[in-house]
Symmetry: D2
Subunit: 337 residues, 4 copies
């Protein structure tokens, strides 16, 4: 629910309403605007009786929001949110970032070598999975805490911030010790306890779109994180599940400009998981940037043919270097036109 | 990996191989058959070198299983599994069961009234959500532990076993105190930590198919539970997400006979969530039983128009009673033809 | 647009309005009801100005129909339509029919042998493709006119009505010479010129749902046929395209009761194309009948392993016979409960 | 089937084999390469016995092609096909083209005004529907032949080549009199008689991808056209049908680079139909060009709010002009980097 104030409402009016909203058992979030203030009402389960509020001084009208999200909405927060990942700015017209690294951390040599190469080519962050969600229980599930430690070494040696996935509420604390940006994977986009848990930490979160999540569900999932107080959220499109099997998933690039209309949060794109095919990664990374993405996540591996997971979609080192050169030129063009 | 023994292999041969498999760091699961024994190898991450095993006495051949599941497979376990829910048998040619109840537990009166009515009409179990996964954080999330307590009262008064959802690993213990059958919802089908956790308890589990999960992924999710030692798993088809919006989801009934070919686990059907439309629930419940389902879960509410969630798909009391009569006749026909 | 008359409006009022509608360039279709008459306005392209009509004597109100169909709607025609296929009644509570036969007509021996067997087992009609829509141009495209002639022989020898596909407007006349029921395939569901053409003949039409057609589009396609004057249309659900690849298509059985609510036209089900897997055909055929289908189309072939198309989904002769026995019992149960 | 010759096979060998293939009832299509010649065998229905061919002089091996297409495949034709539309070159590294115009031709003023504006802004061709496929029969179906005549006037006044849809085999001749590029719409992608008919004319064809067509089916549909002798085919991605309803369809941009790997035919993109939302058209048009599309089709209308169809996705004149400027810069960047 959104309480819109008259343009001549006073701060005292706003405070009074906030107090009453709290007495009703909800949270009040004043949203100052250039013309008037609005007060977001959070924490209500279902419809709230607004008769009491409508009579209060300064109230212009009450909007019952039908969308399952408010805090992530641009209506509530017209300015772009810029997320700060250990000093790297994401979103809001900043230079798009490139996050590179292997699907899974496999060894110290592999991850350090990759980190140094990503850094050398101009990459902004290092990605690598320590906890790996896998379809079946009988395959490689990641090096887990050992993997986090290797990532830390690679981050230190390269100077790159670390992006890695967290899969369950009880490991959020552990992962947050090592990661600069905590990734919620597609399968966990509606793991609401996990969303709430990362909402309570003070580190930025990369939220991947679920395989069959609508844009509305995607934004509502982000709302869980913001509702707990963490507004440092980057969204990530990584392909949806459709009838088409020629690509691993179907990259739904149109939602990049759409989400930029609906939300103030930055949105990145993962062309590696979306396409599942090395030769399609670079064209789709470039298309994502032109469409307005705040950055791309790209898999790169020193020896993709030996990778324990997702080899066919990982760029080789020379492939990554070539992409970085092309992206560099494209970004320069886009930022200066 | 599956090690198939000669039909004249001795127990000592089987033991010797199991020991060697364990020395390789894996788990060996002997699967005795009428003709020969096979040994399932679990816990391997990727391909296992089989040269050492092929030379051992009693070994006929080694099958590298490409499916991401083994324990749930009928190849490994040809007989139907019958799951026992507080004395109610599910699967394996037993009379199909009906689980009835509201989407969410809302009050003591609501749940007790419903439980007594379900019992009176011949229903087998009571369903009701205490922990509710909801798209956005600003809607009714269930009564949580209070809801579990109300379910317990309703279960006691009606004599019906309780089916309710568990959403996170750390509440499995709590939910298991009250529930006779723990439900994993569609959004959590690939919440692997949760699957592992319910794999470690000694209560049966109802695993709902994810909104866009393939049959292979569905069975692989069940495999996580069995791999931890809990083989009391009932699968549940509840509709998949497709382009069609005339129904809430698309009930994929063909997978009922398909899964019965592939797996020994019983499969039930939830026509309420699948269709989202009251008038379609009974025809689809009956179609499910004819297709071979081990039972159906149906939403029923004393006052669907006042339900806090999923009212439009809940049967009224008279509607539920009518369905029970029709299903009773159909079941009698099916069991006696 | 629908003009609803007062309950005391006279026939003269209705006639006057019909005349005015025609002067506006549209077609008027009076729809007498037990309480009042309504007049359907057909042929308008987009919104029609209703100010003139609202002032006329006898008019109660004007409903601007937002659905893209009217004639197929149950609102316009509350009674079930019963389609007569050479004496076999389909729909409206009549005994469900079974249409059997091979995917494609391959030879005189094949089709006659099959027809006689279908008849012997109690089947109601013979299906077989003479014109075959195939994904690529380099595969068997059917025997075409020769196939129609073989079908005619098989129909004569067995006494079964013939169901066969027509693929283009210019062969409608030719196919109608041989067929008792003209099939429009899934790929042609929105071939509007073809729909119009079969709307102009006086033979019944079997319209298959397009692979990704919504229920609304399906009914709107049927509307094209009725709008040309042919109301002898049977709808057919044959599976939709989804992400799931374990079955050839996803049988969307829930639309059977849904379409019976929305439309007066009978709906049949094709479990062979829907599942693509022999072992799933019988359970899904039975599920279709319980869900209220007016009949099923099932592929049967004397030697499925040698079939030129769709062998894996065709029943063998013994399989078909077994199904007919089971369906017979089920139908008896359903008609007498 | 593909017969691969030895690198030292003579022309006489090739001729001899072609003769024998023809005697077998098939068509032989020699495909000269830099190293060796291959002979495509067309017109076979199913598997061909190759024992006879394997013994002939000069034959290296026989490949039984499993794909349902050959002529459109890059294996058969490694060089890019450049399609010539009344002097405008499409594909093969030529400057990407922009086709602009309204969804439907509505009046002389509307189409001429639009044509002149598209030309003034630097557009390459004029699009406009005269025959319109519509979901239901009761809405505007296009001006038909009258629309073609208006297009001809607009084409003449502006100097732009005309792109317009043909919906049935019997109007191909008529449409080809007026159109420079004949469009096959998404609903007709598998209208095989129509494909064959446009395969027999000497005008280029724009083939739109079906709503739920896989890449393989899309290429196989184009194969029907090439198999009749017309190799002037431009493919067009226009969005596929998925669960997502936030956009009209889901633009599947990844298939642009994928199809360029698989086929020699140029592929264009229609961001207007794909997204259905004006504000997404320009970002997606630019993304398409970066991904390697040979051009874009964009809807533009002098008064979108009054358009008889697809107003919400049509650009206004100022919007189109702005897009042309941006595309111009982007194209210059892409062609010169």
């Amino acid at each position: 629910m959104l309480i819109v104030m008259n343009h001549n409402a006073t701060q005292a009016d706003v405070d009074a309403i906030s107090r009453i909203v709290q007495e009703m058992g909800f949270r009040a979030e004043p949203i100052p605007g250039s013309e008037r203030t609005a007060i977001g009402v959070l924490g209500n389960h279902g419809y709230v009786d607004d008769s009491k509020i409508l009579e209060l001084p300064g109230v212009q009208r009450v909007i019952h929001v039908s969308k399952p999200y408010k805090l992530v909405s641009r209506d509530f927060h017209p300015e772009d949110t810029i997320v700060d990942v250990a000093g790297i700015k994401v979103g809001g017209g900043c230079r798009p970032v490139v996050v590179g690294g292997p699907c899974a951390v496999e060894s110290l040599e592999q991850i350090v070598k990759t980190a140094l190469f990503v850094k050398k080519c101009g990459g902004d962050m290092l990605r690598g999975g320590a906890f790996k969600p896998r379809t079946g229980p009988h395959t490689f599930q990641g090096l887990r805490e050992e993997g986090l430690k290797l990532l830390a070494v690679a981050g230190k040696e390269s100077g790159l911030p670390i992006v890695t996935e967290v899969m369950s509420p009880d490991t959020v604390g552990l992962v947050a010790e090592y990661a600069d940006l905590l990734q919620i994977g597609a399968r966990n986009m509606q793991n609401f306890d996990l969303l709430r848990e990362v909402g309570r930490i003070r580190k930025p979160v990369l939220l991947k779109r679920g395989m069959s999540a609508t844009v509305e569900e995607f934004l509502a999932a982000a709302e869980y994180i913001l509702a707990e107080g963490n507004d440092q959220v980057i969204l990530c499109e990584r392909g949806i599940r459709t009838f088409e099997t020629a690509t691993r998933n179907t990259l739904d690039l149109s939602i990049v400009p759409l989400i930029k209309e609906l939300s103030h949060l930055p949105i990145m794109v993962d062309p590696s998981h979306a396409t599942g095919k090395r030769s399609l990664v670079v064209p789709m990374a470039e298309a994502a940037l032109v469409a307005g993405a705040a950055g791309v996540l790209v898999e790169v591996h020193p020896e993709p043919e030996k990778a324990l997971s997702d080899g066919p979609q990982s760029l080789t080192f020379p492939g990554f270097e070539k992409m970085m050169n092309e992206i560099g030129q494209l970004t320069y063009f886009l930022q200066n036109r």
